[in-house]
């Protein structure tokens, strides 16, 4: 279950980009620091039930990733509040912060720990993760030698093993091959049956239409529509 109430995210973008303290102080003295108030999200309200997989569509820069980052607890919202029941796993980019100088296995221990699995548990599940990802041969290879598709598979496979209650997905099929997609969707269908909640942000509208009952449409940070996927996609097409 996810409930969002009046969520807004404000980014203050200095007109003349000040990055150093010196420049900022200088700017204040000369009274030159002016900000552009950019709302990445404005007053977003919605409520998603258990066992629902909801699509999230919108043009580039409409606030999809920002919304998922807020729900995933990565950045705080500027205004508003939200409620999430159970454990949350954000999958916001399929590199999920793997360290390139470490081997696949070492990365999984860290990533698994971040997702809430103790070392022993990951150890037991390691074979299953590598099997699912189909990259078992490369266990001890450094991640920098992996293709982006392989990294995506590993990240997804690890996430699946943590069995989260809420799954936040941001454009996860960008790098996967033709086998990866059906593999993911069979997981999602299983999650739906087991009463887990999924938000699926994607530009792959066919996939959204096929798997999501309801869909959220963001435009310039505002929630333009939330309802039956077909209607929302029609509205998105007209934007």
């Amino acid at each position: 279950m996810i409930k969002a109430k009046g969520i807004a995210k404000l980014y203050r973008i200095p007109h003349e980009k000040t990055t150093t303290l010196f420049e900022l102080v200088l700017g204040y003295i000369k009274d030159q620091v002016t900000y552009e108030n950019f709302y990445a999200l404005k007053n977003v309200n919605f409520s998603i039930d258990k066992g629902e997989m909801v699509g999230l569509v919108g043009k580039n820069g409409s606030g999809k990733t920002t919304l998922l980052k807020i729900l995933g607890g990565i950045v705080p919202p500027t205004e508003g509040e939200f409620q999430i029941e159970g454990t949350v796993a954000p999958l916001l980019s399929l590199s999920v912060g793997f360290h390139h100088e470490l081997t696949a296995q070492e990365n999984l221990y860290l990533y698994g720990a971040i997702l809430g699995m103790p070392r022993k548990e990951i150890k037991d599940k390691l074979d299953r993760i590598f099997d699912f990802a189909g990259v078992g041969k490369f266990r001890d290879m450094k991640v920098k030698n992996f293709s982006s598709g392989m990294i995506a598979r590993l990240a997804f496979a690890t996430m699946v093993q943590t069995d989260p209650d809420v799954l936040l997905l941001d454009e996860i099929f960008a790098v996967g091959d033709k086998d990866f997609k059906p593999q993911c969707f069979s997981v999602f269908e299983d999650y739906k049956r087991r009463g887990k909640t999924i938000i699926f942000a994607s530009h792959d509208l066919t996939a959204v239409a096929e798997h999501c009952e309801r869909t959220l449409l963001l435009d310039k940070g505002e929630l333009k529509a939330f309802g039956k996927t077909k209607d929302v996609l029609d509205q998105y097409g007209g934007l």
Binding site: L21, F22, I74, V75, L102, L110, A113, M117
Partner: protein, 266 residues
């Protein structure tokens, strides 16, 4: 049934063990990355204070003729305490930058990253301190009961260092040139702390300000306890602990408020 604990407390317990796990994994990997491909590896961490000791000893004992008894031990204790403070604060600011990819992509709490850095340098500190005592006894020196004060002073130093780390990490995330400011500040503080000289050399009107520096207070008391066999004054000790507590509380409050705010700016 057998459910005696409240669900809330089990959640908290689960959370704590989760954080401990992540801290463990992070320090483990940091360790691997830090010494990957280096010949002496871990030894470097322990060589550094002794190299510093050799340099400062030669300059101050032979060239400047500082007349402090057992100057090598005097100096080494100061260096070890100082290095823990300086290295940890510096490493925590660097740590959040090198972990930017994790902070931005997963819901890893920033305080876990900082804590893992502190834990990492704490090991080095404690092992170096053990080496110090081997050195100490090898020179034929003896400890008395006053050395027990270390059980208060060492935790004070750790809490103080943690507080300062929490305080400066958000600043470092927000301002790109904070790293340089901190470098200069540490250099100033090094000379404003009685590491190579005795604090009694500080002229009268300034000494009361000088003694506001908590690192200086801790080092002075630690030397008194270990080298000169006397307990610090209770009042002075309380002031040290009070300063430490205030710094930690302030640092933690700032970090709680701004720790996540600047993740996007890393």
């Amino acid at each position: 049934m057998g459910l005696t604990r409240k669900p809330e407390s089990t959640m908290k317990k689960k959370k704590l063990s989760h954080y401990l796990n992540v801290i463990y994994e992070l320090s483990r990997l940091d360790f691997k990355l830090k010494y990957y491909g280096s010949v002496l590896g871990l030894l470097w961490s322990f060589l550094k204070p002794f190299m510093m000791l050799a340099i400062l000893y030669v300059v101050f004992f032979y060239f400047l003729k500082v007349g402090i008894q057992n100057y090598e031990v005097y100096l080494l204790l100061g260096i070890i305490f100082w290095n823990f403070f300086a290295d940890t604060t510096k490493d925590s600011t660097v740590g959040v930058v090198t972990k930017a990819h994790l902070l931005q992509k997963t819901n890893l709490p920033p305080f876990v990253v900082v804590t893992s850095v502190i834990v990492h340098s704490l090991w080095t500190f404690l092992i170096t301190l053990a080496i110090f005592f081997i050195f100490f006894f090898a020179l034929g020196l003896h400890l008395t009961w006053s050395a027990l004060t270390l059980l208060l002073l060492v935790p004070s130093l750790i809490i103080l260092t943690a507080g300062v780390s929490f305080l400066i990490v958000p600043l470092h995330m927000r301002f790109k040139d904070f790293g340089h400011i901190w470098d200069i500040f540490l250099q100033m503080l090094f000379w404003a702390t009685p590491i190579v000289y005795q604090y009694t050399l500080v002229p009268e009107p300034y000494s009361r300000w000088y003694l506001l520096n908590p690192v200086a207070r801790i080092i002075i008391d630690a030397r008194n306890a270990v080298l000169y066999n006397f307990f610090p004054e209770a009042k002075q000790l309380l002031i040290t602990i009070a300063i430490t507590a205030v710094v930690f509380a302030g640092g933690w409050l700032v970090f709680r408020k701004y720790g996540r705010t600047f993740i996007d700016e890393l």
